[in-house]
């Protein structure tokens, strides 16, 4: 296997039919209108020399290498900036052009170090390639002591932990600056000075202190060694590539893992990746070092009591011991006394075998997944209204949106690669509505400003969405044709929503949002063309999460914003495989493909195939497992790759529940917080070792290919199968591909999926059937999955959680760009450079009345617990609301979060906790003691 280099067409593709025919060096080619001559030439198989052009960026016309001759045109235009015209006759290779190109290269090299042999980009340098292609043999402008003015003495900027900037090697092509502008949309880089003094600059400071978000787009775009991964500088150029899928957030970016032997040198975003199309973020691009971190557990461990020391054992002993203990507990306490939690971090195949183990080998339905604590309301709400538990669009759809409404989501931090796509569309002129208590970056950032920021009180989402729907209905903005043709339960809903209690004016007191703003936002959403809703955990992690999801679905249906590109209801999934783990039958009431366990015909399929008699009653959900552990009916838990002791709410409750269990089996990379309560620790594999598939937020099934062998010696699905076997249930697969074959065989929406198909087409979005081998990028186009879209009555029911005199502030939580979830991975990388600790953001007024100043350590208390954090005074917060992230165990946001949960799904209400903040009286040492007993945070 060798290094995979995607072809570079020089300028972006243009949409449209290939109707413009031109001739390049005698070869005819037809391309879409607006295509550059450079790209057309490439289509004709002709590489025109270039340096400043690359197909991820608009043409710039700076290097002047791609000059061509065009019949009837004056001079030698640059082919990158010249669009095709019908009948154009182009010549790319003439004596004159050759001389010009050599002249350009001669100038470049006259200001470039001649250290190719020792340069980190040797062999992967476009400048080097072009010197060869143009036949440069001599630099007559002098070198060495005769050298003219040059930049070769400029110093490197090594401040970023992952890449370095060596201005001495810079050729001023501006690809980095343009990538930062056009692809990432951060606009952190610029060219300072002019003429020969022009220099790439991160805004007059070093990269680390600049606005740079370390997405790597500049490094990716750089044609030389100027912006280079430090890993390449240290290890050398990689020699082979494996295309795989990122294991961080639900965007599901495709990457080329580039290796030297078995050593991973760098992760390079893959241009063919449907989700990311060549873009990346600081996590996926750079934060993979945790996979080789010394904290990794590589051999199984067992202990009798959590007070004992761990004992390393063989795989055989660990598996046998686990199986025997599980069976023994069932013998004593009943079939239903054990269960498992699957992980949204694991592959579809790994998740599938765990739920199969539970249903077939355990003989119950006590399986749940961490999606319970993040997007379970999405599943419920969209299933009730549309008939399927998934977002309606592909990511590319956002490029067709005219209005983008972002609710309870902070994509530029939590889903940065999609955030960049969204920002690109916003810079093109789409309007933005942000519904969030907090002033997130999107509200106002370079070239982007929200038309409306509805800074609502936490917990009042439903009141807002109902008020918007009320405006739509009462102001005659309903898309009557859509609603009449495609929806049901319309009159009931309209009667409900038209009630003046839902008017923006009536709920102003509740939401804190001026009625006029709500009306204006509703009108904009309803009338501006294609309106798309993107949302996150700020919607779901509430006691009315499911109601809110249905409320958004109502709004989209009422305005006809479903079933085409540019519209839809789009959950931004937190973890890499939230969608997949739900698809795979991880919920206690559902078999794979969202089919209720009470459905006899579905059970029959599995009974037949698995040789069992499946239970027709739902099992326990995660919070129910904790309650049942405390009441003694639930005794053993298998936890796959999930740190419930850190991530689930009300830490005190979770810890007590875990401590009450007779057996806790943890399958994980690290000795995580949950492992502290475990009796068996089964080392897991990182995404670099896995062989399987992840399904991202747009239902895209992506291949996860093993970049290196399992460092533990076993794939996780093998371990699960062996436990089932040892429990006496025959369960065996030769490969993970075989597991997918079984999924496809039993799950109609996956019928056309196989590893071979994915390897052939790259990725597909389910439903993928024999009739739809290409998958379904956009759902509900001609009809809803459930037939008619169903309007649901969505009353606003306030949360039980209220601010009081004792707990006067509302705490809400979120994420920051550089860290991921509970931080188990990112804290073991240099990403801690950006975010070494979680802080509590407080409005200046709330801080002042408490005598808190920026940087002070404060006590954060709720009805259920107290923790300690450093305060940051920030006017991003409204008065009365404070905010923290949950990436570090020491901060312990979940020590204070409560057991309030979504009424329909029990998804915890992480986003609303009444708290008090007081200046910390305890010295740092006390806080350390606290760290040992309570741990961090929320959600997926």
């Amino acid at each position: 296997m060798s290094l995979l280099k995607e072809p570079d067409f020089g300028t972006p593709a243009r949409a449209g039919e290939a109707t413009v025919e031109i001739t390049v060096d005698g070869i005819g080619v037809a391309v879409a209108p607006g295509t550059s001559v450079l790209r057309a030439a490439k289509d004709a198989g002709i590489d025109v020399p270039k340096l400043c052009a690359t197909d991820s960026l608009e043409a710039f016309g700076s290097c002047r290498l791609c000059v061509v001759e065009i019949d009837g045109a004056r001079g030698t235009p640059a082919s990158c900036t010249t669009p095709v015209a019908p009948g154009m006759v182009v010549r790319t290779q003439t004596g004159k052009l050759g001389k010009l190109r050599r002249g350009v290269m001669e100038l470049y090299i006259s200001d470039h170090p001649l250290d190719c042999l020792t340069c980190s980009a040797n062999g992967d340098c476009e400048l080097q390639d072009m010197a060869g292609v143009t036949g440069l043999r001599e630099v007559r402008y002098g070198s060495g002591v005769d050298a003219g003015a040059n930049h070769m003495d400029l110093l490197k900027d090594t401040s970023n932990p992952y890449f370095e900037f060596d201005p001495a090697k810079c050729i001023l092509c501006s690809r980095c600056v343009r990538a930062c502008d056009e692809v990432q949309g951060t606009l952190a880089l610029t060219i300072e000075g002019r003429g020969f003094g022009s220099a790439v600059s991160p805004g007059g400071t070093d990269f680390l202190s600049s606005d740079c978000v370390s997405c790597g787009a500049c490094v990716q775009a750089c044609p030389t060694a100027t912006l280079q991964e430090k890993s390449v500088v240290e290890l050398g150029m990689p020699t082979r590539s494996v295309v795989t899928t990122c294991a961080y957030c639900g965007v599901g970016c495709s990457f080329k893992a580039e290796l030297r032997g078995d050593e991973l040198v760098r992760m390079v975003p893959h241009k063919d990746g449907g989700a990311n199309e060549g873009h990346s973020c600081v996590k996926g691009r750079f934060a993979f070092g945790y996979a080789s971190h010394p904290d990794r557990v590589l051999a199984p461990r067992v202990r009798d009591s959590i007070a004992d020391e761990w004992r390393e054992v063989s795989w055989e002993e660990a598996i046998t011991h686990t199986a025997q203990r599980l069976r023994a507990i069932q013998a004593e306490h009943g079939t239903g006394s054990i269960g498992a939690i699957t992980s949204s971090r694991c592959t579809n195949e790994e998740v599938y075998v765990v739920q199969k183990m539970v249903r077939a080998a355990f003989g119950n339905n006590n399986v749940d997944t961490c999606a319970r604590v993040c997007h379970s309301p999405t599943g419920y709400g969209l299933s009730q209204t549309f008939g399927t538990s998934a977002g309606t669009q592909d990511f590319a759809s956002v490029a067709d949106a005219d209005v983008i409404m972002v609710i309870g989501s902070n994509p530029t931090d939590a889903h940065p690669v999609f955030g960049s796509r969204m920002k690109k569309r916003l810079r093109q002129g789409a309007q933005l509505i942000v519904v969030d208590p907090r002033h997130i970056d999107l509200v106002r950032s370079p070239h982007i400003e929200a038309a409306h920021h509805l800074a609502l009180n936490p917990g009042t989402n439903v009141a807002i969405v109902n008020a918007m729907a009320h405006v739509v209905v009462t102001e005659g903005l309903v898309d009557r044709a859509f609603v009449d043709a495609r929806c049901e339960d319309v009159p009931e809903w309209e009667a409900f929503i038209a009630d003046p209690v839902h008017a923006p004016e009536a709920v102003e007191e509740i939401t804190g949002v001026p009625a006029a703003d709500v009306r204006a936002a509703a009108r904009l959403y309803a009338t501006a063309g294609n309106a798309a809703i993107y949302y996150g955990l700020g919607v779901t992690e509430h006691s009315q999460g499911s109601t809110m999801v249905m409320g958004m679905a109502n709004l989209a249906m009422a305005t006809g914003n479903i079933g085409r590109s540019g519209v839809g209801i789009n959950p931004l999934r937190g973890q890499n495989n939230v969608q997949g783990s739900c698809d795979m039958g991880s919920f206690p009431h559902e078999l794979p493909g969202y089919r209720h366990v009470s459905d006899g015909s579905v059970r029959e399929v599995y009974n037949e195939l698995w040789g069992v008699d499946l239970l027709d009653e739902p099992g326990l959900r995660i919070p129910n497992m904790f309650d049942s552990a405390l009441d003694g009916s639930f005794r053993a838990l298998f936890v796959q790759g999930e740190d419930i002791a850190q991530s689930d709410p009300n830490t005190g409750h979770v810890h007590a529940a875990l401590a009450a269990l007779d057996l806790v089996v943890v399958q994980d990379l690290f000795v995580n917080e949950t492992a502290k309560f475990a009796h068996v620790l089964l080392p897991g594999t990182s995404f670099l070792e896995k062989d399987g598939t992840f399904t991202n937020a747009e239902r895209r099934i992506n291949r996860v290919r093993p970049v290196m062998p399992a460092r533990t010696g076993k794939q996780e699905w093998q371990i699960v199968c062996e436990i089932a076997q040892a429990m006496g249930y025959p369960m065996h697969y030769d490969s993970s591909a075989q597991i997918m074959d079984e999924i496809a065989l039993t799950t109609p929406t996956f019928a056309g999926v196989s590893f071979a198909h994915l390897d052939a087409v790259g990725s597909v979005q389910w439903p993928c059937t024999e009739q739809l081998p290409g998958g379904t990028p956009i759902m509900h186009v001609d009809g809803f999955v459930r037939g008619k879209g169903r309007f649901m009555v969505t009353p606003y029911v306030p949360t039980r959680e209220r601010s009081t005199r004792r707990f006067p502030l509302i705490l809400t939580t979120g994420r920051i760009l550089s860290q991921y979830n509970v931080g188990a991975q990112t804290r073991r990388t240099a990403n801690v450079t950006w975010h070494p600790e979680d802080v509590l953001e407080l409005h200046p007024h709330d801080a002042e009345v408490r005598g808190v100043t920026d940087g002070d350590r404060v006590e954060l208390s709720s009805r259920v617990g107290t923790t300690s954090l450093r305060a940051r005074i920030s006017d991003r917060m409204p008065v009365g609301v404070c905010y923290t992230t949950f990436h570090h165990p020491v901060s312990g946001a979940n020590v204070v979060t409560t057991d309030n949960s979504d009424w329909a799904t029990n998804c915890p209400e992480y986003k609303v906790t009444a708290v008090q903040v007081t200046p910390s009286t305890a010295p740092r040492a006390a806080a350390s003691a606290h760290e040992r007993t309570t741990v961090g945070a929320a959600g997926a």
Binding site: T76, T81, L100, G103, T190, I191, G195
Partner: protein, 509 residues
């Protein structure tokens, strides 16, 4: 009755003491009107006294001269002076159309402007169909006076035909070429003419907003323009209902930040948008995607200021002047080592020698003229042998030179042309935006190579290298900045090879 005395407020006059002279004349009891300059810069401060014979000129008048002149009866037009200004040969020999009111009127007084026929062109245009206005401008043969010489009517027609709710008219007043000052003098001396020219353009193409991009080195022009815009808005010459026609158009002033490259039209647009002033590749042309991506007329001050006279007196009258495809008049600017520097507006076709010798009177030093640079720092150097060349875009192009913005800089026989060639490269290196390689690195290498040629160690090879570099910059640069820099360099080598150590016999003249 108080005598009206006219003293220029033009910054060229002010720089030699016009303000002090005006003060003293006011104290002596004259009613002082501040005007623009007539363009006879060697006569500044040129004081004109209103008499029955017309405006009688005195100049140059220094502060020390005032008392004596007043005592000698100057305020009655009696003292010895230049006689009626309009009768001076320098003035009589010109055909002042664009500059008709410059030096004559008070640039801050809209009534004065209107009295001198300043609104005739706009009124005529508003009475026509917009498409007919475009046709008139096309028929007049007016070409871009900024230097490129592109037919103005064709450009307007493109903008007029572009479908958009929002179009702009942008006036390029970033007059950065060495030896040029006509834009400044027009704005300081008759800003309303520029504004009416822009309004006619806006009406013709359907634009609603105009911007004048003025270089920061022209604070007096900026002030004059802002005063005129305020006055024009007050009179309804600009605004929602221009002259009661229902046409809406307004003009805003933007001040540059000292970059020569921002005189290049696409860089100017970038700068107007608040970005770094770097060149945009074309296509797309600004006429279709200009300011903020909208269809935009970008014209030089002189092009726009020529429009009112075309509309007032008809395309034919304008087109009747000139030669070949260079129709109408050009405002030439004489500078450098010249006895009589200033502005000369005359029909195309006048010879270079006539401008330098007849109008300019040869060098200021009295030494023989050796070289003339026409068209700014990117224009070719021409030897005296080429003084027969007619001022005509095509004739100049055929001689490897360019008319440009009409600036003519004169050098006497002490000039070292290798230094001038070096300066051309140095200027390019200093002012390059840095976007394209031939200009960014090439100009620096050009300086170094000329230095080596002058040192002479490897002259032949270095001359070949310099020629290769000139070819690369000409054919490979993104804009005219890098593309034209070889013009002065190559012309200096071609005509003045001996200054580069090339044996005279090899000189190709």
């Amino acid at each position: 009755m108080t005598v009206r005395v006219f003293v220029p407020k033009d910054s060229a006059a002010v720089s030699v003491g016009a303000d002090e002279v005006a003060d003293l004349l006011a104290r002596a009891g004259a009613q002082v009107v501040r005007t623009g300059s007539r363009g006879m810069l060697w006569l500044e401060p040129l004081v004109e006294v209103e008499t029955d014979r017309g405006r009688v000129g005195y100049g140059p008048v220094t502060a020390e001269d005032v008392d004596g002149l007043v005592a000698a009866g100057m305020l009655d037009g009696a003292a010895d002076g230049l006689g009626p200004v309009e009768d001076l040969p320098w003035m009589r020999a010109q055909q002042r159309l664009t500059f008709a009111r410059v030096g004559l009127v008070d640039p801050a007084d809209p009534d004065d402007h209107e009295r001198h026929g300043g609104l005739d062109g706009l009124r005529a245009a508003l009475a026509m169909d917009p498409a007919d206005v475009v046709t008139a401008v096309t028929d007049s043969g007016l070409r871009g006076r900024g230097g490129a010489g592109f037919p103005t009517g064709i450009k307007w027609k493109t903008v007029a035909g572009a479908a958009s709710d929002l179009k702009f008219v942008c006036c390029n007043a970033d007059e950065g070429d060495s030896g040029t000052f006509a834009d400044r003098m027009l704005i300081e001396g008759d800003p309303f003419t520029l504004l009416t020219g822009m309004t006619i353009a806006a009406y013709a193409v359907g634009a609603s907003e105009g911007y004048v991009y003025v270089r920061s080195e022209y604070p007096d022009a900026v002030a004059a323009l802002r005063t005129a815009i305020d006055a024009a808005r007050g009179r309804g010459w600009l605004g929602d209902d221009v002259l009661g026609s229902g046409v809406a158009f307004d003009v805003h002033v933007r001040v540059g930040a000292g970059a020569y490259i921002c005189g290049e039209e696409t860089s100017m647009l970038e700068s107007l948008e608040g970005k770094r002033g770097t060149v945009r590749p074309k296509p797309p042309i600004p006429a279709l995607e200009g300011l903020f991506g909208q269809p935009t007329v970008v014209n030089n001050v002189l092009s726009l200021a020529s429009v009112p006279t075309i509309l007032a007196h008809g395309a034919d009258a304008y087109a009747a002047l000139g030669v070949g495809r260079s129709r109408g008049t050009q405002v030439f600017q004489l500078g450098g080592n010249i006895a009589r520097g200033g502005v000369v507006e005359t029909a195309f076709g006048i010879s270079l020698g006539e401008l330098v010798e007849t109008f300019g009177g040869g060098t200021l030093t009295g030494r023989p003229v050796r070289a003339v640079q026409v068209g700014g720092p990117l224009g070719a150097y021409l030897p005296v042998e080429r003084f027969d060349l007619p001022m005509d875009y095509e004739a100049f192009a055929a001689s490897g030179a360019m008319v440009g913005h009409g600036g003519i800089v004169v050098f006497d026989d002490t000039v070292d042309m290798s230094s001038m060639a070096r300066f051309a490269m140095e200027f390019c290196a200093e002012e390059s935006c840095g976007r394209c390689t031939p200009c960014r690195i090439g100009a620096v290498r050009g300086v170094e190579t000329i230095d080596r040629i002058k040192a002479g160690a490897n002259r032949e090879a270095d001359l070949v290298l310099l020629e290769d570099l000139c070819e690369l910059m000409t054919d490979g640069s993104l804009c005219a900045m890098g593309g034209l820099t070889p013009l002065p360099v190559r012309s200096a080598i071609r005509h003045f090879g001996s200054d580069f150590g090339i044996p005279v016999t090899e000189e190709a003249r």
